[in-house]
Symmetry: C2
Subunit: 442 residues, 2 copies
């Protein structure tokens, strides 16, 4: 029998709410509107707030003086589903196999967001109210870097005043191990376009006399790292916060992550910055990563052309105390410095997000640890994560509060990839965790 | 009023005979069948010969002992038309603007092939026969490297016995300047695929711990050249035939090609191997060119993934005395040597073709020069070309004859590119040239 709330999760997943694809704008909005109806039906009051992009959902219970105020954040937008051919079942038709729900957004973030919703519903059904003042904030632009959320926080600063934020949009180190994430990497994206001839040219007739934009973009991409994987951008590592001794020890106690990483990724071998373990590389060291490259003929067989342009999409993952805008400036300077002759470079800056870190041993951190232990037992993990939730830094900057990241994703949930999935057991644990957390924070 | 034969050319162009695209197989065949009907209608006898790929059209007049035998070669297949969005008028609907016919295949090679056909038709209409023994050989696989033509030549060696081959599939240095091409570059193609993780991965969660296939393919691509544009593959330039003094002089007399090359290509600047003029680089120096690169996210905006694989499509243009197979071996060794750790390399060899050179001052070469002067006047050009017609070397190897390359394409005819076109004046000149050539060779 399906657990309570599962049908709602499946309904939520069927909205193809891809925020980066402007042809999906109506689907993003429809998903937000459906969530609002759901929360209103539970007795919360709220509305969808317009932004220059996708709407923000804001809902509350009746706030009572003297209670702690908790803000629950989630996002109802999802990554693009491409390449569609690699999905075993349709990307936007949730399908249950072996106890997991397969669908774009299953784990990132709708499965975890709906665990909030069902947790709230069950607490309210039992007690007619919540033990805290609750603010629910669900946005539709997380996957494009939340461009409108920080302005929204600033505009609604008083309405959003709270003591702490809680988010489930991170991972668990293993099934059944409650995991508290106290740090996230930041991000800075850019696209470099290299322009050469005004049209695609015959590579026999013209080859040898002009620069090939694809060669140029490959040379720029190759110049980002040394042969061992260090980022070669001048000043890239300036000010990077060293990993604390207790962190190195705590992470080492999680066991050897190499075998798991090889199995999860299917890579032929691990590879990364010398001098760090794989967890340290992912959780506490910055990267320069290529998310996409393209230029010239992309089809079957061969076509002997010199393409007129080529692109590379880069993202930098950042750690405390790197500044995303400064990194983008350094990256652009590096690309311009290494640009080969005979082509023109265009830089398109993308979204940015600050890295985040909080003290997991603070009062609120300790409360979160207790809630995790209520649901998962005493063995919990304190970790950082390699992903980015820029909004966490925005909550710190605008509302002055820390964020408790109590994630429910497993390492093999394929977030952002084909066949994304979410275990039903994690959904159920999430529903209980939300109730325990509200009790501990009360 | 349209010149004689133009309507036939337009009909021929409407066949989307893209040989590299297996969904177009029937269109390629239909184009060959239409041409056969046309030649039969003029009084030639012949048929379409099956091959493992697209059919070969072979047709003849009645051969008479004591006459010189001339083989006319052309190809009725065309390059893919992509990117379709860049065509001003539909790629397979010939459209006349400002005296030029715009269509995929207009210049390469249907416009020039139909000049043969119309030239034959007019000579036969006047004289009831031709002054030579004629063999027409039109194939449908030139754009994929003529994989089945050499076996065909070998199988039909006796039937194809001839004194000389004539082809119009090259260029004129300028409008109205008859051009005799006595050398062509060879070609060797390969695709390198780099495989990393078994699925696309979240670049935040996993970035830093595994090698990115796109980075690896970019590093491989960058390792092909030094910063000045020399090819860095060990032994790549071994045995390359030096440019003769008379060639350097003749080509310099064609004037400064730099300004024309900048205008034709629209490139911000010329770029190529140091120590050579732009013509020398294109006509007599070998290249390593990237025809396409791809990996990771290709769509709008950003998607923070590490793609599971990446590819680069390479082609090498070769000059006398490079051997294409040896070059492919050296290239593969170079790529394997430079492969970064943490990924797997797959090499897919592509088609090859030998470079070609003949003496333009030989008896047959001199006859061709006379025919050019009859149509274009005394100022003609002796050049090599940067493109590849592997079949020219095959004629030399199998039939033991030289090929007269009397091309009709202008530098701005956009062969292989969107908005390919052919001037009607060149079609008319070609019709006359074919008649003059038959007379001079008689």
């Amino acid at each position: 029998m399906n657990p309570p709330g599962l049908e709602d999760l499946l309904t939520c997943l069927r909205f193809p709410s891809v925020s980066t694809d402007s042809t999906r704008n109506a689907d993003v909005r429809a998903c937000g509107a459906w969530l609002l109806d759901k929360l209103r039906g539970m007795g919360l009051t709220g509305e969808l707030h317009e932004t220059p992009g996708h709407p923000v959902l804001l809902a509350k219970n009746k706030h009572v003086a003297g209670r702690r105020t908790v803000l629950l954040y989630g996002h109802y937008d999802v990554q693009p589903a491409e390449p569609l051919g690699e999905w075993k079942t349709p990307a936007f038709e949730p399908t249950i196999r072996d106890g997991r729900i397969y669908c774009r957004g299953a784990t990132d973030n709708k499965g975890q967001l709906m665990a909030h919703v069902q947790g709230l519903a069950e607490t309210m059904a039992k007690h007619a109210d919540l033990p805290v003042n609750l603010t629910v904030l669900f946005e539709g632009e997380e996957e494009i870097g939340s461009p409108n959320l920080k302005p929204f926080l600033e505009k609604h600063r008083d309405e959003l005043k709270c003591d702490v934020v809680a988010i489930s949009d991170t991972g668990m180190v293993a099934p059944g191990v409650g995991t508290f994430t106290y740090g996230l990497r930041g991000i800075a994206c850019l696209e470099a376009k290299v322009h050469g001839p005004s049209i695609d040219l015959h590579s026999g007739i013209f080859g040898g006399a002009i620069a090939n934009p694809v060669t140029a973009v490959a040379r720029l991409t190759a110049a980002l790292h040394d042969a061992e994987g260090r980022v070669m951008i001048d000043g890239f590592y300036d000010g990077v916060q060293a990993i604390a001794d207790w962190e190195r020890k705590a992470w080492a106690e999680l066991g050897d992550g190499d075998a798991e990483m090889l199995e999860l990724t299917g890579s032929p071998a691990l590879f990364g910055e010398p001098g760090y373990t794989e967890r340290e590389r992912r959780w506490a060291r910055p990267t320069a990563e290529v998310n996409g490259i393209g230029g010239g003929y992309q089809g079957e067989g061969s076509k002997t052309v010199i393409g007129r342009e080529a692109f590379v999409k880069l993202s930098f993952r950042l750690v405390p105390n790197q500044d995303p805008d400064a990194v983008l400036q350094k990256a652009e300077a590096h690309l311009r410095k290494h640009l080969p002759p005979g082509v023109r470079l265009e830089i398109i800056p993308g979204h940015t997000g600050m890295p985040y870190i909080m003290d997991p041993h603070s009062t609120l951190g300790t409360a979160a640890q207790r809630a995790l232990k209520t649901v998962f037992g005493d063995k919990i993990a304190l970790i950082r994560e390699g992903g980015s939730i820029p909004i966490v830094q925005a909550f710190k900057d605008v509302l002055g509060v820390d964020t408790l990241l109590l994630g429910l994703a497993l390492p093999d949930c394929q977030a952002h990839a084909p066949n994304e999935n979410f275990p039903i057991a994690n959904f159920e644990a999430g529903v209980r965790l939300n109730q325990a957390l509200l009790a501990e924070l009360a």
